[in-house]
Structures are given as C-alpha cells and as structure tokens.
Symmetry: C2
Subunit: 484 residues, 2 copies
C-alpha cells in the first residue's frame, strides 16, 4: 500500500527530449489528467483536472462559434445503417471504423456515430426550404466513436473522443468556401491565440481527404518528437451529401438547387494532446493562463504562531484576485510538497505567502514556465492578468520558434530522407496533389515512413522547378512529415 | 411547399387542459425544442432552442454541484460486460435495458452505459486508499442509453437521455446518508427554486428502488394530466457496489473497510418535460426568466420614415440591458408575426418599441405569463431583473398551488379510486413499504393503474389507524399516483 502511494506521488522520471513517448505516457497519468486503468481498449477515464481543462476549451470554442452564428444542437449518438450508407465515399471511408449495436427485433441496425454528416443532412432537408433559411450553421459538442483496430494511445488515438462538429448549409459554393476560410480563422483564434499552439493549415492531397468531401484542410501541429498530429480540420462537402440525401432549397428565382455543405471538427481531447506536449517540461504540465483550471495557487507558509495572520492575508489576496481562478492550498502538507504538486499540474502562478511577505505587504510569485521568482507588492496585484498574458505570449512564441526551426526546405530526395530522420518537417516542390502524385507519395512513405501532408493554405507558395521525386514539373509546394 | 410552411408556422391547435397528450406532442415540435422526424425509435434531435435551454439547465446544476464539492469527470460511454455483471441486483435490473455493441474479435463485450456505478466504483478502488482521500464526490454530464422496449415518448421516455450523474464515496453510512439529504436540497435549490418546479421527495417502496441500491428517494412532479413523472432521484448504494468491486479504504485505526457510496441523477432532458408541461399554456411555452435562452425580445415597430431612429433607440435599450439575454428581432416579418413567434417560444418579456415609445422615452413591456402590457420609462429599465424575479415567483406559486390542490387525503378504497380517476394524487395510510406491502400495492395497481410512490421524506407524516387496503395496522403514509 505504501509503495503504491510513493510511486504515484513520484514525478516524471524521464526526460521529454530524450524519450518523448514515455514522458507523454507518464505525464497524462501522473498529473491526473486521465486514467487508463479501467482497461477498455481505446477508452479512458478523464479525471477532474483533465475534465476542467476540456470544459474550459469547450467554452472558448463554443463562444467563438456562437459569435460566428453557429447554433448548438444535440444529435442522437446513433445513426441508422441506411443513413450511414447513403453517400458512397463516406461509407467506404468509415465502414471499417464503425461500432455497430446489436440489432433489436424488427428494428433497423444502428451504428455509434463516427461523425454526423448523415444525421445533419437529412435534417437540413427538413429544415431548409428556401434561400431565406440560409445559411444554416449548426454545431454540437459531444463524443464520437471509431472502431480503430490499430494501437490506441490515450487522447491521441482512441475509440471515443470529445469534440465539436459544426455542420453548415449554404446556397452557393462561394459561401461554403468562405465558411472553410472562417473555420481556419477559428482554429487560429482559439487554438493558436488562446491555447498557444501554432499550426500549419494544410490542404490535404486528394488521396487523404475526409471520406465524402470535395476537399479537406487539416491543421498540423508539430509534436516534440518531430511527428505532426492532425488538429481541427474543415471540409468542403460540396453537394455530395445534399445529393445523397436529396436536400434542396429554392433559390431567389424559385429554382430548386442542392445545398452546399461544410463541416469543421475541433476535438478537445486531441488538442489537449498538443497543449500537454508542446508546453509541458520535465517538471510536469505548463498550462496556458487562459485555460488552466487554477490560474493562481496560493501557498501559505506559517508556524503555529502566525498561522491565523498568514491565512487571513492569503484570503485578502484571494479576494483581491477573485475574478481569476485562484485557490489557497490549505491542506496539511509541507510547503515543498505543495510546490511540487502544483508545478506538476502546470498552474501558471504560485504565490508564496510567509512571514516576510506579510510584514512587507507583498508576496512572492513563482512563474511556472521560466521557473523564476519575483516579489510583488500587494497593491500591484492588479498586474497579475497582465503577467498572465505575458505568460501565454511566451508559450506561444516558444512554440512558434520550435515549429519554424523544424521546417526544412529540401531540394533532393536525400535531403528529405535526412530531414525526416532528424525528426523535422520537409518542405519541397511536388508534382501533383491529385491521383497523379500518389505514386511519388507512396515512394516517400516507403523510404521515410512520412506522408505528404498537403499545401499551405492562403499563402501563395509558388513551386519552382521539378518534383524532387519524379522530376516532372512541380505544381505545388508540399509539407512532408511523419504523423500520429 | 406553401402548405407545409403554413402548417409548421401554425401555433398550437389543441387545448392543454382538454388534451394534454396532443398538446405536449405539438408544443415540443412547434416551438422547435426538438424534432422526431429522423425516425430512430427512442432518439430525438434537439434543436437550438432546446439545446440552449438544456445547456442553461446544466449550467445551474453544475455550478451548484461544484459549490458542494463535486468534481467533474468524463467516463467512457461503454461498460465491459464483466463490470456490469459484478453487482447482482444491478445487473438483474438493468440487463433487459442494455444496448450491447457487436463484439470485436478477441475483445470483451461492451454495453452502452445505462448508468455508471460500474465505472466509478472500480475507479474509487484505485483512487481511494485511506480516510484522508474521503469523501470523494464526482460527477459527469453526458448521455446514457436504455434499450426500452416500451413505447417511447420524446424527452419523457427515450433510449438516450441527457443527464448528470454524481457518484460519491464516504467512510461511513452516516456521511453517505447526509449526501442523500444534500442531494434532495440540490433538487430543491435548482429544480424548485430556479426552474420553478415543485416536487414531492418520496422514499420509494422496497420493490421500486434503483437496481442495486439500499434505498432510493425520487422526486415526483405532477403533470397537468394528473400523472406524476419521476425527476432527480438519489440513491444510497450502501456497500453493495463497494463489496462487489472490493473497493476498500483504511480508516483512522488502520482497518480496511468497504466504502459507502451514493449516486444522484438529475436528467436535464426529463426536467425539461416538467418545465414545458407545468408552465406552458395554449399559446406556447412559458419559460422561467432564469433559464430562457432569450429573456427579453425587442420588437421595433417602424415605418420607412422613422426606421433608423427606432432601431437606434432599440439598440440603446439593448445596451442598457446587456447583462441579460436580450435580442432585437430585426427580421422583415410584420410585428404581429414576431409577437406570435416569441410568445410561442416562451420568452418572458417582449419590449415593443414604436413611435410613441420613442417620443416619450419609454417602452411597452408585454409579460408572457399574465399576457398583460405595461409602460416603463427608459430610466426605469434597471427594474427589469426585479420583474424577472417576480415572473419566476408567479410561475413557482402557480405550480405549487396546482400540486397542493391535487393531493387528496383518502380514507377508503373508494376514495382512492375516485381520486385517481379524477387525475389527482391520493395520500393514505399504508400497511408496509417492504415486501409485505407489495400485495396491497398490486391490488391498487390492478383497480386504478396507479402506483405506490412512497413516503414523504423529512416530513414526519404519522400514519393513524389501518391500511386502507388490507386493514392491517398502518406503518406509513404513502402517496399514490399514476406515473409516466
């Protein structure tokens, strides 16, 4: 029993740079983000610290989506087989990944939803009659299920994940494409600006788009081990689903037209992977001030004699900062143990309140990312939100630098091989992103295990010369990386 | 097409008092709370108006639970067969109601969770070592699934519903029982005080408790048709689950003891039924000011000439009330259509802003529940939150009166029959709430279709004389009603 206690209280025992994989396995459990010990393949238990983080992330995303005119809905967690099979590309892509329910007597076969196009499109058909009902921009928060037969990893690759999916209908392709652009901006506003995670918005090659989409724009985030992880992607479904479900509207001239639809899918549980991995260090999590469940932890340091005074002063400080997420750790542990615990959990600021601080009407603030301490006067407490912004700016800047320095322009096959081997992203001229380029992509995958992740959106990166693999004239500049 | 439009725009065509069942079917669809047309038995689509209501309800509940020390978690949506079968009473009660997933190769059989005792208890076993880890009070928001083979009704009886479930572990039975009491208080604080729905907290008879519990306290709410609907119930699980999962802790003397556990389950989708049914009238929903997605709708009434001025004045009013959920309806419909729409949707206050209001720097407020209009001066706008409180107090008072006048003290079998026939709740002396009383309960059910709902908690209602059915000495005062 005692051994068990000691072990779980121990901090990280590996170095993030040296063994990222083990570091990740340790940090998610030791900081009490989640627990895998229930032992259901692909399913985890999210503990309070992780749940509060995810809730905060949902809050930012939902606020942003509502601001942009998306309305919340709740769809069934199940999809009838007939719906799922309506769009041929979709079902081909998703069938192997579907959890089916055992069929009830005389009832239709149901799948756990892997994504909800085939629930929203039939409702668009019922809800939308004319151009006056458009655009219709909806979303839901909830979980989706994929029967992944590959190895699962907590939050990275699982069988149930927690996301938002928006589903939107428009009168024209142009409006639908504007929505795709707006989605990229949403990823920028939230994932980059609030969660401090920079990303590459990449239009996926033809062979790597969402099953049923015209095109897909993914956001790739670089992990410390040099692999990228796909974060929110947005899809122009075009009229594929509206045709499959016969979902039409009457335009201004009274003509019946098929709807244009899009979908966007930020997964909180997966973005959390990037937050943990990008900002964390060898002492534990480093959480952005914007989303940390506790932004400031107060540690009172007292003897029996000055206990009351110091607790009272701590309360005063807490009251002064009550608009922030602040907590006093009044447990009976030693201050050192408390420092250690909240560092592990990634709380941005620790306020140490002892005799000296009390006497000087000041406090000592420890900054989680820089590990520096400084004194602040009580009447300067109003500066803490500003320090919070600076904190997040540092996290962002560091992550941006990391991404930037790990993109290498490659002009030969050898350079690509070397770049991937060095755990970096290769950027290179490429023949084609439609099926004509697949052969070159397969070659790259064979020799490097890396994939063609796509072309940078909204940044005109002009190809020059020839494809590094087949020597045909280049039509695109692509990013190549190993991926999760 | 035009016919379809007209029909769906039409309001309620039945009278709530005369045909409640049809009124309910119409109101949930016509006010755009939900849509059943996806056609999956027991599953509905919750539309934006319904989703925003449910989100607001979650917000109140989660805030209250967190204030009382419950921490949020996210559990898998699935439960391994072995877990589900650990507690014999539990599995006996739930097996017929479980959705099973088709089994993957060499993987264990999984059920969609019908409730999560068998996920939380094994985690308690891992997370709790000593009395210092107690109490542990957790909860999750999410959906659960029950394969109900009976007729389903939207939100009332479905196969997926949206709830919160708390799961809590304690060192002693006494503390566990205090939690049960705290849960009843939570129901009172939120469902009654915030959502304006009074209830009877009833300890269920032995034969009607939660599968696996020592005892269950349900909250019965009276519907307009005289049937009760069970709302949040709280369960003393005792040591049944901790024994099944061998979940122990070390007490202060170092002895290993089984945990005492409780669970509490407020279902937002079901409480919404009571909100709709209790407060609604023949013009549509009447939503409590506390949870209405829009608390105040502004309807500007203008001619081409004064349009700008009136819109500007409307904006000024909105700005003044920006801490409330307020919206200006600037669509191109006629004012009458707008009045009609927002009355149907149950918005508490409508502000009519026309030329007269502009000139007199005032506004006309229409109050949804009383249908009365009054003028308010612009500089009296600060009184609106007070009017909102009064609004909710009226709803609450009306509902309380309805419940009170529909409880009839019965001294004979005939009176019980008559009371139930008149769609009321019978209150009467009763022989026994353990298995000895089951025969009398079965008799009552046979002749009236009503059930023994239990005894009033925390109110010492002393039985006098004999059981009205079997004439044995009475040991309890019970409430009898038909139920959903």
């Amino acid at each position: 029993m005692q051994k068990k206690e000691k072990e779980s209280n121990r901090g990280l025992t590996v170095n993030k740079e040296k063994n990222f994989s083990e570091w990740y396995s340790q940090i998610i459990e030791k900081t009490e983000i989640l627990d895998t010990r229930l032992g259901i393949k692909g399913f985890v238990v999210i503990r309070p610290w992780g749940t509060k983080l995810i809730e905060k992330m949902y809050e930012f995303y939902e606020e942003e989506l509502q601001k942009k005119g998306h309305e919340p809905t709740i769809m069934p967690s199940v999809i009838p087989e007939a719906n799922l099979k309506k769009e041929s590309g979709h079902i081909k892509g998703f069938t192997p990944e579907v959890f089916w329910l055992e069929k009830g007597k005389e009832e239709e076969k149901l799948a756990l939803r892997p994504t909800s196009e085939t629930l929203y499109t039939p409702m668009f058909k019922l809800w939308i009659r004319s151009h006056r009902d458009l655009p219709m921009k909806l979303y839901q928060r909830g979980s989706v299920f994929r029967y992944d037969t590959k190895a699962t990893r907590p939050l990275i690759r699982g069988r149930e994940f927690y996301w938002i999916e928006t589903h939107n209908a428009f009168a024209t392709k142009k409006e639908a494409e504007s929505q795709v652009q707006e989605d990229i901006q949403t990823t920028e506003n939230i994932m980059h600006q609030k969660f401090c995670i920079p990303f590459l918005p990449l239009k996926r090659p033809e062979w790597d788009k969402f099953a049923g989409a015209e095109y897909t724009i993914g956001s790739d985030v670089l992990m410390p081990d040099g692999k990228v992880i796909q974060q929110p992607s947005t899809h122009l479904m075009g009229q594929k689903f509206s045709k499959a479900f016969n979902a039409k509207f009457k335009n201004e001239k009274g003509q019946e037209k098929y709807l244009w639809t899009t979908a966007y899918g930020p997964a909180m549980s997966r973005i959390l992977v990037s937050i943990i991995s990008t900002h964390g260090d060898n002492r534990g999590l480093v959480l952005p001030f914007s989303i940390s469940p506790i932004q400031i932890i107060i540690i009172p340091i007292f003897t029996a004699k000055d206990k009351n005074k110091i607790l009272k002063y701590s309360q005063e400080i807490k009251e002064k900062l009550k608009d922030l997420r602040i907590k006093i750790d009044e447990t009976e542990k030693r201050p050192g143990e408390k420092y250690y615990k909240w560092e592990l959990k990634g709380v941005p600021f620790r306020l140490e309140i002892g005799k000296e601080e009390l006497n000087n009407k000041e406090l000592t603030i420890y900054i989680r990312d820089t590990h520096k301490k400084q004194k602040i006067k009580f009447n300067q407490l109003k500066n803490i939100p500003k320090l919070g912004k600076e904190f997040d700016n540092r996290l962002k800047k560091n992550a941006e630098n990391f991404l930037k320095k790990n993109i290498v322009i490659c002009k030969t096959k050898e350079q690509i091989k070397k770049t991937i081997k060095e755990r970096k992203i290769a950027k290179t001229n490429w023949c084609s992103l439609d099926k004509n380029g697949l052969k070159c992509a397969e070659y790259v995958e064979k020799v490097t295990n890396a994939e063609i992740r796509g072309t940078f959106v909204n940044k005109k990166e002009k190809p020059t010369g020839k494809c590094v693999i087949c020597n045909k004239p280049a039509t695109a500049v692509v990013y190549i990386a190993k991926s999760y």
